[in-house]
Symmetry: C2
Subunit: 219 residues, 2 copies
Amino acid sequence: MHLINVNKNVMDDNEHIAEHNKELFDDHNVFVLNIMSAPGAGKTTFLEALLPLLSQKYRVGVIEGDMFGSLDADRLQKCCNIPVHQINTHNICHLDAKMIHSSLDNFDLHNLDLLIVENVGNLVCPAEFNLGEDKRLMLLSVTEGDDKPGKYPVMFRTADAIVLNKIDLLPYSNFNMDNFVKRVRQVNGRAGIFEISAFNRTGLDSVLKFITDAIDSKK
Amino acid sequence: MHLINVNKNVMDDNEHIAEHNKELFDDHNVFVLNIMSAPGAGKTTFLEALLPLLSQKYRVGVIEGDMFGSLDADRLQKCCNIPVHQINTHNICHLDAKMIHSSLDNFDLHNLDLLIVENVGNLVCPAEFNLGEDKRLMLLSVTEGDDKPGKYPVMFRTADAIVLNKIDLLPYSNFNMDNFVKRVRQVNGRAGIFEISAFNRTGLDSVLKFITDAIDSKK
């Protein structure tokens, strides 16, 4: 396939810049969390719930990736009183390492402990682009169905934490938790699986612990 | 951006093959409907509900696009007793015209009135690739949120029909219908907007009418 050859060069370039980003983050002792999901899985609502808790302990910044507009960045700026920088990717369906690198001018890395990247809503492409992050957290919402790990294995395979959101909608869906966990384990044996409702603010404690443990172990 | 130059060649190639596909479909009087959405919006459940109705009147075939596996194709083959052909795109996040062209060997176009393409679950990339289809139908589910038209305008702009699925979950979400319609109209003034629950089989009549009218007007 033509696209695969094209992608190889793009990927090599990306990997090079991602390594450079990683060095920069490590030098400044900034922990970077890349958050990914399909559109509408609840990344922004999740961050609205989590950021007030995280920012009690850490100096937090957010890079917000969207193809167009700044709806999510506006929401986070409103809720959380932290620096948020918007990247608009236009017709590109993911963030890449170069976009992240360019965005860093907007932050004072010496005064940051945690940089959260909210990637473009897409269950495919973002997983293929290393940004130089420390950990990857992905969200899936109950209403997307329990069959997704087998259909989008690249995303599920590379996640360090898999957050199942909208568990308040379990009674109104045919989502089968046992099937979901079984399908996750077929592609990823190590990631923690967290059940939450960002909307109702339930189940957040264990995700918060995952993130704080990861940050503290980098220090 | 590097990717944009790369994409231009890919897009020109795709457009050329798409035109060829379109001629082939027109010569055989086959109507082609390209169905797109984010992962988990309910495309397959929608087709499970619609195909038994459509196949009463038309000879129908389905091309099923997934990155990996054949879960959806298996479901459709089980429900509907029609020819279904699976395309696995592996790391590519959309179907393209060449994949569709190669897949056509699996169908007898002389004995087909309607070819439905269930695209890869992705709210970004599939919209950029013309397959040679007659109409585009996109699904959005209530649980994805009413803010999506502004965030994914390319998909919403090119749709001929916008199907809002999972309206049975409206009471459990903060989806605002007026805001949604307003945001759709900012990017697309012409597409019909249909409210359905594929799960509960409600609201399907008007979508069915949209499809049958479109097929009949091609004849």
